[in-house]
């Protein structure tokens, strides 16, 4: 497992699984660092299959959503596939309100995400 400041990264059958270290993604410094660490997975490590496991996330701001959108765009541009999993009902509602449930590929569980990658 690779340890960084904002995310835990592990490998499962050639798929990169990312979990968040913070339960609330709000403050600008954390969001900036989170974005940089996520972007490195695509731009430096050239990872092609990624699962973002949201099970630890209790709250995230629109600024955090913006960073995830940029991450998704970078992934698509690099030919990587990104799946979001384990999103709690209240966090999923944030995605639904902003229609981002249509932008991101979302599966119920990490196992569901791994199964399609």
């Amino acid at each position: 497992m690779t340890n960084t400041k904002r995310i835990d990264v592990s490998e499962s059958a050639s798929v990169t699984v990312v979990r968040f270290k913070d339960s609330k993604i709000i403050d600008p410094e954390s969001i900036q660092e989170l974005g940089a660490e996520l972007f490195d997975l695509i731009e430096q490590d050239d990872r092609k299959k990624l699962v973002l496991n949201f099970s630890d996330i209790e709250f995230l701001s629109s600024a955090a959503l913006g960073k995830l959108i940029t991450f998704d765009k970078k992934a698509k541009r690099a030919g990587s596939r990104l799946i979001l999993t384990n999103i709690s009902p209240e966090i999923f509602q944030v995605f639904a309100i902003t229609n981002l449930d249509k932008l991101f590929e979302i599966k119920d569980t990490e196992a569901d995400g791994l199964a399609v990658l």
Binding site: S62, A96, I97, L103
Partner: protein, 147 residues
């Protein structure tokens, strides 16, 4: 604002820095919790509305200008959360903000704060000048995606 005999009042003059207001927001949430508001869905909704309204005022209203302040007032009771967030910026017309939910705008990183505030609050109104937002939520009111 809806009638209430003695709401708890929280007022703060915040600097235009995005790391300046978390303590204030947390104090409001703690007070609401002590008034019996449930974490889900109400406190989550209020947390979101305060986060987005204050950060919008700092980021888009005051442009993070150190010489400008964001004035926040919250009135809290067992049934009603009310807040006003005012910045010193030139103001804007909410109707001019593109709908972030349009299919051709889903990949635009910004512009989702106002949609979230509208969805989570019972009332969301800007003053005529467009630099002062009033929000209100009645306890138990459902979230309305699409504002």
């Amino acid at each position: 604002m809806s009638a209430d005999p003695s709401p708890s009042v929280f007022k703060e003059s915040l600097p235009s820095s995005l790391d300046s207001y978390q303590e204030f927001v947390q104090s409001v949430l703690t007070e609401l919790e002590s008034l019996g508001w449930p974490t889900q869905p109400d406190l989550f909704a209020i947390h979101m509305a305060l986060e987005e309204s204050i950060s919008n005022a700092i980021r888009h209203g005051n442009k993070q200008d150190d010489s400008k302040r964001v004035e926040v007032e919250c009135r809290l009771s067992e049934d009603v959360f009310w807040a006003q967030v005012c910045d010193e910026g030139p103001g804007f017309c909410p109707k001019d903000v593109p709908d972030c939910r349009d299919n051709d705008r889903l990949e635009v990183p910004g512009g989702r704060g106002l949609a979230l505030i509208k969805a989570y609050m019972t009332i969301c109104e800007y003053n005529e000048h467009g630099n002062c937002l009033t929000i209100e939520k009645r306890r138990g009111d459902e979230t309305t995606p699409g504002g």
